[in-house]
Symmetry: C2
Subunit: 456 residues, 2 copies
């Protein structure tokens, strides 16, 4: 059995390794068009800030190490340009040689990932305008910061990468301005619907957040970025621009092969991560996955989900009809820490719940991370989103200088299992000790409010 | 309907408030033999260390505030000395007046709590020998430290209170020696079976831990403690002794009334916290509660469990035959932080699992609290205890300078629900972001090892 894995950054290596584990006698080949595999994308802002040393800190695994330790073959700088699922045929371009050839495989796993969204405005190709996606981007940004006289950086998009990049810029002693149409940071994926702690920390760090978006990028005669024009007609002078307005799944290969695309634009897969094409599975950022609270299939381009979908795709792809694995819907957990504030978010925000047609209410509390009088105790904002009536936990958002991300983790099994606010409020034995948590944990305080607000 | 609550320190006020909430027209009377109600026992070591200000920091609620805000009656300095369950009669001593009288109640909730165990060795009544249990103890210790020239404190018992008291003593600039037969700290309730991080932190702080126990306490002519003799024949000079060798349930009142006692010596109750006596419920430290992994009824004298059992006891006691509440078995979570190290523990240790007749194995890993290269990342030791075969999670122990207690909280719903190591390893979406958690959370790393060790 020959298994092809297309894409080698995060989900790809996980899928190839799992396929080889599942079917040790299979020949597993992973194609990656770039020069590197297995990159720690989440670490890029900290590498740029200078906290992690050289670029090798971003390399989780090399092709050589994977081949040696996992037993699959890695083809670097080879791009799969066409797929004939029924015939089991791939067309492969060897980029460094300009050569094209065909290969045959019994099973194909697509892990083509996502690309950073572009602004789509004039001037976007100016030197000094970057997206934050792969190792080359990371190195290019650092080189720019170290060789150009950058004083002010405009960050387009206030999501987690935008906030992390603003912090990285600040940590390098430079000025940053975030442009986000919402006028806030972390307004979408990492919902901070009910807390202003992060916004205040960003402001206190001297980072401006403007409710504007770029409409044009202006460069000097040498083609270097010098300003961003916004939809408010303002000109914001800068010597670098980071575009962090999200990612989009790289579905072209699969779509050209006839694969079905889901509502969110990612590849549609079943609960075994199988695409609509015969013998083709998909995993990682390119595939849509179901989320637990409402079953909706969404794009959730984060590493833990990618690894999980890779495992399921690979086990089924490598299975000879035996036990197959199914994908358990995601809790949708995500965490950010920047400017001394942690945000943890799980499941649906109130806005997302409404959008999903659920009758939801929110319970908001501000409590303490430890016994209130204990030295170091910090305010913590908790919002729980619950279904009216039964009080099923649909999501939670937690913001504090400490203990927010791990409290999101506490909610993960509850949201994933469809537990109720009452179970959290009344039955769950969260620990109490003055230096680590107050007598009644903020999660339980919020859950008690949620029980009342859910109304039964 | 008249409802009596006997005991007013922690579970008592919670039970009285819940009973009044459940049956607003009932007359609810809470008896407390001391001068205070609603004390924050867990805060005592930090009060003694001087971190919380005056003794009022230990008072969670006053009798007046409870009466006003919760609508029940509080009788301070009144001791219930006899109970006739069938007749609904209590004998009450008004301690400040030397008067005794009878009162009639329809329902009784026992929240008589636990008392600190004594050493039972000669000389134990010397001045300067303390237990850490109530507000008076706390004040007496602080007065002793502030008026006597104490240089060295012997702490008998290396459980969580022992460790916290050793830290408090160190924080006051004094020397402490812990005597514990195991030669370690946190050897029992808060199991550190597979980690020496806490032991090393204790040693690094200059606190000696000796595998000995006191056999005699020696005093000077004025009756002040001057040394402890140990079972190794050693004399340890000191000017204060803290006895922290656990607590025992105060069952006398109930036992004299004919109540059944469980295997652990606490009051036996059903899943509605009902004792074997008609119209008598029990809650808090005096009652045995079932633990989730094996259903065994145990004493678990911690505030969160006390509040939970109080709620169930009160709802059932105050119910007029309507919906009653049942007690969900405990996860058995506990956390300590001292000397810069956090320990979180949930469910059964390997020793406890063996003792419970379960076929258990342990998976031990040392990992990182954040991305390894990230500044501030700390080593973290995780032990998971799982059932052989199915891999059901029976318990977990986590030790680190950060993020151990809240990771114990993550295990709580899993242990309480009987989840498997495989679910934790493969399906649970714990968050990942370099400043707050590594790519694969230490809990998931340990769970993967546990899946293999469980063997299937």
């Amino acid at each position: 059995m020959r298994i092809a894995v297309v894409g080698g950054l995060a989900a790809g290596p996980a899928a190839a390794a799992e396929a080889k584990r599942q079917a040790p006698d299979a020949e597993v080949v992973m194609f990656e068009e770039g020069r590197h595999v297995s990159i720690g994308t989440c670490e890029i802002p900290y590498y740029i800030a200078g906290h992690l040393g050289g670029a090798d800190a971003l390399v989780v695994n090399t092709a050589e190490k994977l081949e040696r330790s996992r037993g699959f073959e890695v083809r670097l700088r080879e791009r799969v340009t066409a797929l004939d699922a029924r015939a089991g045929r791939l067309v492969v371009d060897a980029l460094d040689y300009g050569a094209q050839r065909e290969e045959r495989f019994d099973r194909v796993i697509l892990a083509t990932g996502a690309r950073a969204r572009r602004l789509g405005v004039p001037g976007e190709d100016a030197a000094g305008v970057f997206v934050i996606r792969d190792l080359e981007d990371a190195q290019a940004v650092r080189l720019w910061l170290e060789t150009e006289s950058v004083r002010h950086v405009v960050v387009a998009g206030g999501g987690y990468i935008g906030v992390e990049m603003a912090e990285a810029v600040r940590d390098r002693g430079l000025q940053a301005t975030i442009l986000d149409p919402s006028g806030r940071v972390l307004n979408n994926t990492v919902a901070c619907e009910a807390s202003d702690l992060m916004d205040r920390a960003v402001a206190a760090a001297g980072v401006a957040v403007r409710a504007e978006k770029p409409t044009e990028i202006l460069a000097d005669r040498a083609g270097r970025v010098r300003a961003v024009r916004t939809d408010a007609g303002e000109l914001v002078g800068c010597q670098m621009v980071v575009v962090s307005i999200g990612v989009e799944p790289r579905t072209e290969l699969a779509v050209a092969a006839g694969a079905r695309v889901g509502e969110m634009g990612g590849l549609a897969v079943d609960d075994r991560m199988k695409t609509s094409l015969a013998n083709v599975w998909a995993c990682g950022d390119v595939a849509e996955v179901p989320r637990a609270p409402d079953g909706r299939r969404v794009l959730w381009p984060l590493a833990p989900t990618g690894r999980r979908s890779a495992r399921v795709a690979a086990r089924n792809a490598a299975s000879r009809g035996g036990r197959a694995d199914t994908f358990r819907p995601i809790a949708g957990g995500v965490a950010v820490k920047a400017f001394g504030i942690e945000v943890g978010s799980v499941g649906l925000s109130l806005a997302q719940a409404a959008d999903a047609g659920l009758d939801a209410v929110a319970a908001d509390v501000r409590h303490w991370t430890r016994t209130a009088a204990f030295p170091g105790s910090c305010p913590i904002d908790v919002r729980l989103v619950v279904e009216r009536g039964a009080g099923r936990l649909l999501g939670g958002q937690i913001v504090s200088a400490e203990g927010a991300a791990l409290r999101a983790d506490v909610l993960v099994p509850l949201v994933q299992a469809g537990a109720t606010a009452r179970e959290l409020a009344e039955d769950l034995d969260l620990v109490y000790n003055p230096p680590v948590a107050p007598a009644v944990d903020p999660l339980k305080v919020a859950a008690s409010v949620a029980v009342r607000r859910a109304g039964r």
